[in-house]
Amino acid sequence: MERVRISIVGASGYVGGELLRLLLRHPYVEIAQVTSESHAGEPVHRVHPHLRKATGLTFCRMADLKPCDVLFIALPHGQVAPRIEAFAALAPVLVDLSADFRLRRPEDYARWYGHPHPHPEWLSRFVYGLPERYRAELRGARAISGVGCNATAAILALWPLVQADLLDPERPVIVDIQAASSEAGREPNPGSHHPERHGAIRPYAPVQHRHTAEVRQALGREGVVLSLTAVDAVRGVLAIAHAWPRDRIAEPELWRIYRAAYGEEPFIRLVKDRQGVHRLPDPKAVVGSNFADVGFAVEEETGRIVALCALDNLMKGAAGSAVQSLNIAMGWPETTGLDLIPVYPA
């Protein structure tokens, strides 16, 4: 079989580096070109020290891109939509990791991003690249949108409860999210400076975070709100969702519901133990892998359900889900190139 030729735009970023880590080992693809404006002409390993010896590629400019089979785009939010026609001219299959094509409805985009979408006609062509939610739609898809990492953690924690129609529609679901520093990408800023960020427990978006839109869209439910806090880790997202059932529910019943939803999922692990250090999902246990760990607890006194999901923001929260989605779209085995066991402890 001839290998599918893939180019990556914005390959000097963290998501770009993670795509390279995955695709360089993927048996059905080869990397054609990788772009960076600020490091054009330099070897990839100068920016991605882990990729030394894994690739001899050098970065080129976006302007030097040649046609290819699949184009991955890992540019910052807002940088893709204006260029979408140019990208589409380069490749028949697009995978955009940015937030530009995650929402289906133009009015949602306008509401959460504060300005109208420059190419609203493209919104409905994209499939949201979360296989656990949109696997059927991903088959044969030609435009795949990457996921929001925080959104994915919230969605995967809550989806079984929503799907089973368990939740009280009158009561909002509150999702507290703890996020690691690589979420914000490679560009330094005063808040990412090591002396400032080390040891911080910094609430940075207690209300009205943009990922709320994706979560609501995927869950089909308005009453979900998010609060985000930055903590001292490099990779990882933990979502803690507080939800109220219509009727009291016991834990064994929740086990059944989560098993029904995720029992066949290759990358979801149910974590709920009564012993040991690792009783519930912790992003530390998935670092470097495409796993999302999901768990739950019920508060006997109040009936509150706490649903949890831990994932690696650069993997299940970005590059991993994107490659998984591409595998589905291309008709390859879904786990191809993603058989990575987490690195622990690290």
Partner: protein, 56 residues
């Protein structure tokens, strides 16, 4: 192989035919330590555990 239901997670726990009363085993789904507390009907309960408490 017969089955019994895990009281913790409602998974089916496979049991050998010659399983004995008060035998201990581990639920393969949720990892809970279980004890066979009745043979007919085959019934499992959580095994007594030393409480680990490493709270903050």
């Amino acid at each position: 192989m017969s089955q019994a239901i895990c009281p913790e997670c409602a998974a089916g726990v496979p049991l050998r035919e010659d399983v004995m009363l008060h035998e201990f085993l581990t639920c393969p789904e949720c990892g809970t330590a279980l004890e066979v507390v009745s043979l007919s009907p085959l019934t499992l309960d959580r095994a007594p555990q030393v409480e680990e408490d490493w709270g903050e």
